[in-house]
Every structure is written in structure tokens, then in C-alpha cells.
């Protein structure tokens, strides 16, 4: 999913310490935060933004395009379902440590309702010069500036480093999509790449992967059919092999998931795989594939 300066945003958990801190940053960046929620605090205001008890109540007064969740882990399922059931089409699910079964239930309801979910445990979206929904340093001019490179990253901190390297080389971003660090995610690497492939303002894509899971491998067949260049970095290739317990994970992964499997799949798909984030700009300059 992407976000524009036209989109209206509701912040769930707006009265909390993190919720209010990041709401101010999003608003200062130009994001249209038009409402917030906090159970029991309906009728109050945060920086002039009206607070409601639920998204269900807020949508009676406002048209809401995007919800951003700053809700504690055990309350996150109810909050996300509130947004989905209220007809919000895009949910940015920032919360970390949400029980996996809760995430699964939210994603099932969202799929049926046609709601897109980014996350959980994501750093959010930045569309430089337009809007941001999440916890990325969008207003840092050495990290983000408008351009034509789309970035997909599981991690917020590593995503920040990659964005910094692009700007340092004189490039800018069309969008940054943080997809999240959890095992089960609403938006996968493949989903995010498809979004950027369809985005007319994106000319090339930087994929920031990590060892573990098989999302990079699942995206490879689509990448092989793309016209836009893809440059990829896979973090953790020098890490010692992990230890595990059951067989089920290995049966489902079928030998995929480690750094070499990802590099192989991405290279075979025509992506340029670099060894370090600092090599990304040069790889993009060389045409990317």
C-alpha cells in the first residue's frame, strides 16, 4: 500500500506517549491526521485533533482512508478489527509483540473486507514530500527526499541506513515500505514489490531482505518478469547457522530461508544482489540488472 498527502489518517492510541509523539511528527510532515482514538477518552483533543472512543465512532464524523495503530500488543487485535469493521481500507499495524494467532485472525477479517494491512511490527510508510504513516525519520533530510527509488524493507533501522545511502549518493525515494519483522505479515515482500512495480513514480526498486523465512524466495518468480530494475541486499549472510527444534519449519521451507538460498533465487530472477548497503547506489546506476 502507498499513502498520499490527500489521504486522511486516524491514529489509534493517540493519547499514549508514543502515539502523541509520532502523531506530531506525522502532522508536521504534512500527513492529514484528522482523528485519533483512545478508549474512554472520546471528546478530548490531542494537538487540536479530535479523539474518539473507537474508529466506529470516528467514521460517523470523518472519512478515514488510513489507520495507524499505536496500541499495546494485547489490545491490538480488537483495535485492528475496529478499523477493518469500520471500513478503513488501509491499516498500518505498527505494534510489536502481538500474539501470532491474533495477527492471523485480523488478517483473515481484513482479507474478507478488502482491507490492506501493513505489518504488524512494521516501521510504516514514507512517501517523501507527501506523507508518512509510521515511525520512520521521514523529516530527516539526509535520509529521505523525493525521488524515483522504491524501497522495501523488513526492518526500520536497516531501512533507515539504506535510505541514507541513497540520499548520500544524490538519489531520492518514491516510497519506503516497511513490511515488518514478524513471521506472519499482512503485506509480504512480493505484495510490496508488486505495489512499487505498479507505481508510476517508481523507476527502480531496492529490496532489503534478511535471513529467515522464505519471503524473498516467494517474490523471485515475479521479479524475473519485471521490467523495472531490482537491487537487493540480504542482511545476516555472515551469521552462524541458527539452531531450531521441530521439523515442521524445515518441511514448510523446503531447504529455503538461509542467505545463500535468497541470494541465489534473487540473482536467478535477474536482481542485482549487493554485499553491503553502501553498494546499492552504484548498482542502481549500472541499470540494476
Amino acid at each position: 500500500m502507498l499513502i498520499s498527502s490527500q489521504d486522511t489518517v486516524i491514529v489509534q492510541g493517540i493519547t499514549g506517549r508514543q502515539g502523541s509523539f509520532w502523531t506530531r511528527r506525522m502532522t508536521e510532515y504534512g500527513t492529514r491526521v484528522i482523528a485519533g482514538t483512545s478508549p474512554g477518552r472520546g471528546g478530548q483533543e490531542v494537538d487540536g485533533i479530535p479523539v474518539y472512543d473507537s474508529v466506529g465512532e470516528a467514521v460517523r464524523e470523518h472519512a478515514v482512508d488510513v489507520s495507524v495503530l499505536f496500541v499495546p500488543p494485547l489490545a491490538a487485535k480488537a483495535a485492528a478489527l475496529d478499523a477493518v469493521e469500520s471500513g478503513v481500507r488501509k491499516v498500518v499495524f505498527l505494534t510489536e509483540h502481538v500474539p501470532c494467532h491474533d495477527v492471523i485472525e485480523v488478517l483473515a477479517e481484513a482479507r474478507d473486507a478488502g482491507t490492506q494491512v501493513l505489518g504488524p511490527n512494521t516501521a510504516g510508510i514514507v512517501v517523501p514530500g507527501q506523507a508518512t504513516a509510521g515511525i520512520m525519520p521521514a523529516s530527516a533530510s539526509n535520509v529521505f527526499r523525493p525521488g524515483s527509488i522504491g524501497v522495501v524493507s523488513r526492518s526500520g533501522s536497516l531501512g533507515t541506513l539504506v535510505a541514507l545511502n541513497l540520499v548520500g549518493a544524490g538519489l531520492g525515494q518514491s516510497a519506503f515500505l516497511g513490511i515488518g519483522g514478524d513471521p506472519i505479515l499482512g503485506t509480504t515482500t512480493l505484495d510490496a514489490i508488486q505495489t512499487l512495480d505498479a507505481d508510476p513514480r517508481t523507476d527502480a526498486i531496492v529490496l532489503v531482505g534478511e535471513i529467515g523465512g522464505t519471503m524473498e524466495e516467494e517474490a523471485a518468480p515475479y521479479i524475473s518478469g519485471m521490467r523495472k530494475p531490482v537491487v537487493a541486499f540480504v542482511a545476516g549472510r555472515s551469521a552462524p547457522a541458527g539452531r531450531r527444534m521441530g521439523h515442521a519449519g524445515a518441511i514448510v521451507a523446503r531447504g529455503r530461508g538461509d542467505g545463500e538460498s535468497k541470494v541465489q533465487a534473487l540473482t536467478a530472477a535477474g536482481a542485482t544482489v549487493v554485499d553491503l548497503p553502501s553498494e546499492i547506489p552504484a548498482a542502481l546506476g549500472a541499470g540494476g540488472r
Binding site: 508514543q18 500488543p73 494485547l74 505498527l94 510489536e96 509483540h97 502481538v98 500474539p99 501470532c100 494467532h101 491474533d102 492471523i104 485472525e105 488478517l107 483473515a108 516501521a123 515511525i135 520512520m136 525519520p137 530527516a140 539526509n142 524493507s153 523488513r154 526492518s155 526500520g156 533501522s157 536497516l158 531501512g159 533507515t160 541506513l161 541514507l164 548520500g168 516497511g178 519483522g181 505479515l185 532489503v208 534478511e210 535471513i211 523465512g213 522464505t214 519471503m215 516467494e218 542482511a235 545476516g236 555472515s238 551469521a239 539452531r243 527444534m245 521441530g246 521439523h247 515442521a248 519449519g249 524445515a250 518441511i251 514448510v252 523446503r254 554485499d275 553491503l276 548497503p277 553502501s278
Partner: protein, 389 residues
Amino acid sequence: MQLLEYQGKRLLSEAGVTVPDGSIAASPAEAAAIAARLGGRVVVKSQVPAGKRGKAGGVQFADTPSQAREITGLLLGSVVSRYTVTELLVERAAPVAQELYAAVLNDPVSKGPLVLFSSEGGADIEETSARSPDAIARVAVDIRTGFERGQAELMLAHTRLSETVRREVAATLQRLYRLYRQVDADLVEVNPLAVTTDGQVLALDSKISLDPGALARHPELRGAFGPAASADETPLERSARELGMQFIELDGDIGVLANGAGLTMTTLDAIHHYGGRPANFMEIGGDAYTKATSALRLVLANPNVRSLLVNFCGAFARTDVMTAGVVQAWEELKPDVPAFFSIHGTGEQEASALIRDRLGVEPYDLMDDAVRAAIRAANPRTAGTGMAR
């Protein structure tokens, strides 16, 4: 969070899955007493949180109580798959006619629960799966409706199990699914799920992994199971685990402090790339960014550290808060090693000013330059591989 076999079997038994009769022993005398009570042939199983225990010699059969005593004496204190054996499960040996495989897990691809079943279970299930994927039936479940009887029966339709066994296995699959839901498991795996010569269906092993994010709503499970200590865990790693941080000592000389798993792995990748050797993996991601002081204490407590690399990229984690923690630890410990900083993102200006003012050090613009400088400082005699600033 992975449970030991006997902890998992307790949950399986409560969920209505039949497990062999047995008890836990912490001494040879206890093992002998359990074997005497059970009578006949028993199996003595090391309780360590690792797979392939049988292949590592941690599971042995005993025909008499005195044999059980002897085997327990040998296994206690031995190291099986990196863990020291302190407890053994002594169980009545089952007359196995057929070994099946059953599991329920969170599946990232279908984004929901996935039930796995195979009539070719046992220690070689992964090889079986790789050779003939069709030998394993898979059913993606809608978590809102659950795993229904009809789905369980359909999974077993092509097996050659007898009608009565098939009915019992179908019921067992449903019990495993209900347990998976009830305890918020990431994984419930039984391999082998045995059919005995008298037609009983029995869970001979158990691998259960609980979702740490869900433990807060399971007071009945909290406390009973903590993260396991491995045999080769260092004292520093133990302190870190007790502080709730993930710290792994490596054999290099560059201490590393970074935030977030992705950035930390990348920092280690960069050190390797430029020819250096990291002394540790230490993640202070998410809410742990406020723990920078104790994190740095751990990193610097390693006597092999000859230079320190601090790499922060703030998104949610504020670099000014993390850097204040680092400065505090630095002033308290007054370490005798040089430090190299690369700091960007949320809070960058405040963080950089702190380092300049309090430590008199200028942060690097590029991570790569900070990495190369840290490598040079750790290996003064082999200097010259990196670029000068």
C-alpha cells in the same frame, strides 16, 4: 519459546492425547525407582531443547531398573546437542507398529494455521518430505472456523490405516489443533505419533513452541517454562539472558552495539566484508533501546574487545536516548578501548552533539568508514586496508 519434551507431553495429555506412562528423573536412583514402578522395558530420554536427540545418543532403552540407573548415571551431566542434561524422562517403551507424523504451525504463506500429517513419520521425516512432498498432507485452516472433523478425515483418506486407527488419529489431529489454539502455540509437533501393535495411538515425542508475545495472557504457562540455558552459554550470555537481552559472544575483537536485528546483522556483515572479526552479536531493538547502558556494559565486559563500534539508525528507537545510555556507561566504566560511531535517523543531531561534547569523538558520516576505522584500531599492525578519513 520451546518446551522440553516432558513439559509438552503434560500439555498433550491435558488436551486428551495419549502419551506413554512415565516420570521425570534427576538422579540414577529416581530413574531406577520409576523403571521399577513401570515394569518391563523403559526408554530413558535426555530433556534438552534440541532436535535429533536420539541420533546424538541422548535417548536409550533399558530392560531392567538397574540398567535404567546405569544409563541415567552416564547421561546426567553429559552434553547432548549443546545442552547439559540435568533431567531425564523415563517412560514405558511402546511396541511400535507404525510411526506417523503430525504437526500444527503458523504458516507465513497461507497466513494462518497449517496442519501437517504423514503416515511416514520418524526421525527421517525431513528427508521424506524433500524426496516426496506428496507423502505429507497439508491443510490450511481458517482460524475463525477452526479445524473441523471433515478436514481431519480428508487428510487421512488416502492412508492405509485401519478404520479404528484412522478415527483415533483424526481425533488426535483435532486435539493437537485445539491445544495449539488454547496455549497460543507457534508449533505443536508430534513425531513420531505411534500406532502400537495393539492399535493404540500414542505421542512418543513432543515439540511445542509457545508464542512469547502471548505469554502475558497465559498466567498458567508463565513461570513454568523459561528460556533454556545452553551448555556452552558464557557467563556474559547468561547475564544478558537474565536482563532479557539477546547477546552472543563471538571470537573476534570488535565490540558491536547496534539497534534492531536487521541493522545489527548488517553491521556484522560489514565487519566481515572489510576483513575484521566481531566480538559479539547484541540486539537492542524495539522497546529495548532504553537499555543501552546495560548493553554496553556487557559488550565491554568481554576482555577480547579492542575497539568498539556503535552503529545506530533511529526509526522508532531514538538515537539520542540510546546514545545517552552509551555515554553514561562509558563515563562509568572509563574503558581503555577506542570507540567509533555512526549515528543516523531519529534523534541524530542530539546524539551527535552528546558524543562530541561528552566523549570528544566525532561520529562518522558513513557506516563503512566507522567499520573500517574500528577494524584498523583493533589490528594496528595490519592497518592500511581501510580508507583514511
